[in-house]
Symmetry: none
Subunit: 281 residues, 2 copies
């Protein structure tokens, strides 16, 4: 499961041969079981050594390691499908749509703990916990996630800054201290404004947490802690939804971790009282 997601997530950053290998594996995951590295190389039209290098680049020890991971993915996928009464082709259009969306979402969220190092998540929570203030930056579609995260942090009584204007966000950055944290949210990890922010924060020795959707990108490289919300649904319309939901899910996990850490329920209660007052006429 995770393995194929990982491959899909890296598709963009691959060379021609790597891409061919990736495509073949994604299309024929079930065949890989009976392929040796040489056979795979022949099937794709490359050399055996390139296959091995491809595996290692993806983070596997070698070919057998990848092969096993892919086999696992194939099996879990098929069992999961069997279990969740899989996307039925019922006569009803709407129900099918919803079922498929929920199925994809469920599968993708499950992959989160696999692509993110456990320690990184804990560290990120610690980092936020210790921060005197957090500047969140995310523009475009990432703004939604940023907005969400800001709300969570405020709910915990943590000063979280966010502005939709990149220039003002930069100004806000200048108010940060060494104890502050910069949280950068971007799907591609290439957004110029965020990179500027990252550069500034690096100069000032302000800690950076990134939340992106590809393993290696300018932002995650610049970050002290890099969180990932991979995805990789082939449906162009569904994929962005999944990526976003995955990002928010990660934020929610961080939020719950922080809740646990400070374990001060009264803070939360006060806040919910506050909101309750706001909702009253």
């Amino acid at each position: 499961m995770v393995c194929l997601l990982k491959i899909r997530g890296m598709l963009e950053h691959m060379s021609v041969i790597e891409r061919k290998l990736a495509d073949f594996i994604l299309d024929n995951a079930h065949l890989l079981r009976d392929y040796s590295s040489q056979q795979l190389a022949d099937a794709v039209g490359t050399s055996q050594s390139s296959v091995v290098k491809f595996c290692q680049k993806l983070g596997y020890k070698g070919y057998p390691d990848l092969k096993l991971a892919v086999s696992e993915a194939v099996i879990t996928a098929s069992t999961l499908q069997r279990d969740t009464t899989e996307p039925s082709h019922s006569a009803n259009n709407l129900h099918t749509l919803v079922e498929q969306l929920q199925f994809s979402l469920h599968s993708h969220l499950r992959g989160i703990m696999a692509v993110n190092d456990e320690q990184t998540l804990l560290d990120a929570a610690d980092c936020l916990q210790g921060a005197d203030r957090v500047l969140i930056a995310g523009f475009g579609k990432s703004a939604i996630v940023a907005h969400d995260m800001q709300f969570r942090l405020l709910q915990l009584g943590k000063l979280a800054l966010l502005h939709s204007d990149p220039a003002i966000t930069l100004q806000l950055a200048s108010t940060l201290s060494h104890d502050s944290v910069l949280l950068l949210i971007s799907e591609s990890g290439q957004n110029t404004d965020l990179l500027k922010l990252a550069r500034f924060a690096k100069q000032q020795h302000i800690r950076i947490i990134s939340l992106t959707s590809y393993k290696t990108n300018a932002l995650s490289l610049a970050a002290d802690l890099a969180l990932l919300a991979l995805s990789g649904d082939e449906n162009v319309r569904v994929n962005p939804l999944l990526v976003q939901m995955a990002q928010q899910h990660l934020c929610h996990i961080l939020y719950l971790l922080l809740c646990q850490q400070q374990n001060n329920d009264h803070q939360l209660e006060e806040n919910s009282k506050l909101l309750h007052v706001l909702e009253q006429p």
Copy 2:
């Protein structure tokens, strides 16, 4: 699955060493993944060649073949277990947290089609489809959902208005026509500003869609179409997350319905090109 059964079935007819091998594999099936034939031989106290012969005797081509079969068995067993016996109380805190969150989320999203009338959803999509513009209103935590929905609609080329200030939102409402739609998002359905908007829209005969979290409330009563994103987790910290995710999920369903209806992929592509440009340095 089959593999381990097969081994068990042959236990009686095995020699001493074979028996030792079988026992070890049955007891440590999960370890086999990382064992070479030599390592297994050492672990059992026999020779590597005996391991291979054992595999062949069982009907496998060789050691890697058996290894793969055992791995498959382990995985199917564990996935089945994970799926049926829900939130495991594993030693690991973080994993437990995440599993529970995902489990709750999955269950709650599944309930969406039960609490929402199918026709209402379709009508809501039609309604949005036909609107010349959509004014979205949602404050506080609902603002995140509102933000999300605005983004989706804009992506479809639909003019969607949203402002964080209630007063300005009211001003925006005055620009609506009979062909417009007002989308009101609120958890409780009691927010005064939203009720004011609803009252105004009613006077002007502007259609209202509500998205709330309780079956009967002032907003849903005032709305022409009432969507529901119920929840009800006992955990005070998790519940708000679930409610919000459910609301967003509903928005996403509407979005996908609209996609289907207009079925104009090029609009989407144009937009993604647009975003691509924005992401470039």
